[in-house]
Symmetry: C2
Subunit: 356 residues, 2 copies
């Protein structure tokens, strides 16, 4: 149904439209891309493409514009992954140079992605490493709430409020000793086992009191993926003109609701290998049906057990997919390696070049 030339036409339309932001007509197409046929021929092709749902026209007598389906085909079939420019490579390297600690890495990554793509960047916190627990702190908050703080050997700090029967300061002190004695030095999984085992040896009353605390620790330990995300480049929303216009509100809304962002990134796990793209209405969160998400898992899946985390950008459906995808992929790989090396306690100072 779609011969080579039609595909080529589709690709050309996408490219031109992305660049010019205006519906693209048959004449312009033959001129800008050296298609050796006449505009009339192209018109016929475009008519077919339109019938099939890959293109559409805003009104009769206007040029064509790709539909979501059109972009989809483009991304799947046509997008040859643009290699990054040297400048971009260098930017990635120097941006991360000297990053210390997970917070810092994540924050820098968000900025970096936003700066390179001119879109809004979303970076999910990496799942906490399955590193041993260093310390557990318990703090009495008001009325029956206990704040449980867990520190891991990697410096990651996690906290959660446990609701449990009121205790006085002395109780808490004892409990703290008990919990730390049992769990510190163990990997999260083992620590939870141990705590549960000890819990079972207590009398029912004691068990009822301590169970919530143990459970909070279990929750923190068991989280295979972090729920925290960091966003960067929000000003890009306003900077890049009409482009975003209609997207600003729903996007800001989504950013305020971190949960939505997580769902957006979540999907990307599906395609471990590379970059996952969701275009327009493919998105199940309807307010964002005019935006695309380009994301990638960046945690080294090889050394899994630690769960995965994604990063990506979100922008208008009319985006430069090839280069955005290339950038996201490159950053994901780099950050993955960087973190991997860092938690392996190596010092990463140089970064060669990305093999495709």
């Amino acid at each position: 149904m779609l011969d080579d030339r039609k595909l080529e036409v589709l690709g050309a339309v996408v490219v031109d439209y992305v660049q010019s932001r205006e519906p693209v007509g048959s004449r312009a197409l033959v001129e800008r891309h050296h298609l050796d046929v006449s505009p009339a021929t192209i018109r016929n092709d475009m008519a077919v493409l339109e019938e099939e749902g890959y293109l559409t026209q805003p009104h009769t007598s206007a040029g064509r514009v790709p539909t979501d389906k059109g972009y989809r085909l483009f991304v799947d079939k046509l997008a040859s992954v643009k290699p990054l420019s040297v400048a971009e490579r260098r930017a990635i390297g120097s941006f991360m140079q000297g990053a210390v600690g997970v917070d810092d890495v994540v924050a820098r990554t968000a900025r970096l992605l936003a700066q390179l793509t001119h879109h809004v960047a979303i970076v999910q916190y990496p799942a906490p490493a399955p590193a041993e627990l260093r310390h557990i702190e318990l703090v009495r908050l008001a009325a029956g709430h206990l704040l449980v703080i867990v520190i891991r050997a990697t410096g990651e700090v996690d906290q959660r409020v446990a609701e449990c029967p009121d205790m006085d300061e002395a109780d808490v002190t004892v409990l703290r000793g008990w919990v730390n004695g049992a769990a510190v030095g163990l990997t999260p999984g083992r620590a939870v086992e141990e705590l549960r085992r000890l819990l079972a040896t207590l009398d029912p009353a004691g068990r009822r009191r301590l169970a919530p605390v143990v459970e909070s620790i279990a929750e923190m330990a068991g989280a295979s993926t972090s729920e925290r995300v960091v966003v960067g480049g929000v000003p890009n929303l306003a900077r890049f003109g009409v482009e975003y216009e209609a997207l600003i509100e729903p996007l800001l809304e989504a950013i305020e609701e971190q949960v939505v962002l997580l769902r957006l990134l979540g999907e990307s796990a599906r395609d471990n290998a590379g970059v996952y793209v969701r275009i327009g209405a493919e998105n199940e969160y309807t307010p964002l049906r005019e935006t695309s998400v380009v994301s990638s898992v960046y945690t080294p899946l090889a050394s899994s057990e630690g769960g995965y985390a994604s990063l990506g950008v979100v922008g208008p459906t009319r985006m430069d997919y090839p280069s955005t995808m290339a950038t996201v992929r490159a950053v994901a790989r780099y950050v993955g390696r960087f973190l991997g090396a860092q938690t392996a306690d190596l010092d990463v100072t140089c970064w060669g070049h990305d093999e495709h």
Copy 2:
């Protein structure tokens, strides 16, 4: 120079303009406000007000619009503080009901403020309470960086990276014991004194190694005000129409740069008593010269020693100052009391009414 009626006219112009978003003319003024004079008289008054710089007109035959100076006078002289509606009162109370922990309180406050004012809300983290230190954790990051984590009796967690000569895991363990032994249980101030004292007893080599750690702790302890801010209601930027239009970019930019936000709030300390308003160009951060900031210190200054923290909203110069100011003040007072009560380990369940 400005008799009573002229002031009244200015006030009327501000009120009408804020409501209608359109330049207001002399006839409309006499009709909507029961000024018992003719439009012509008002015109003369307005001419004077314009000469003095309180009003301006977009073009010759249009109505008048307040200038920054006009708003300023309005705020200083005319704004009778609107009492909050019952619904708003209730909203405040119920919004904070059941808030647990500082993080939660701050987050809820931001949402609350944004929702009540329809502007962008900024809430500075309260300065850490001068509560005793509970635990200090040290984690070796890559190459000569040590992550120092401090937990206070209130559950507040603070962390900072100290650059210091490389040590191995054993060194760190010893150091951790040393630091905790010296500092835990003391108030931050005392703890730092103690650490410094102990530091001085060491030989020069040891001193050089440990000094950076002690200094990071000192920095965290000494911070009289927190550098963290939380923002809420960003989607309001897009929701409330043309209103914001031109402000979106600079505001998003400012939000991305937390430092700017801090500076915006910082000033409010000047006027401890109540609400601080900065209008348009009064703002030293020029990109925001078309926005106003309404802020207030919310930490109970009585129980000072703990430094102060502010909250506020930022919106277009054309905002409803009286009610925004009232809301900000009410929220600031409520949150202040709430936090005060909470850290005093009391359970705040009911909130009477706000005395002006």
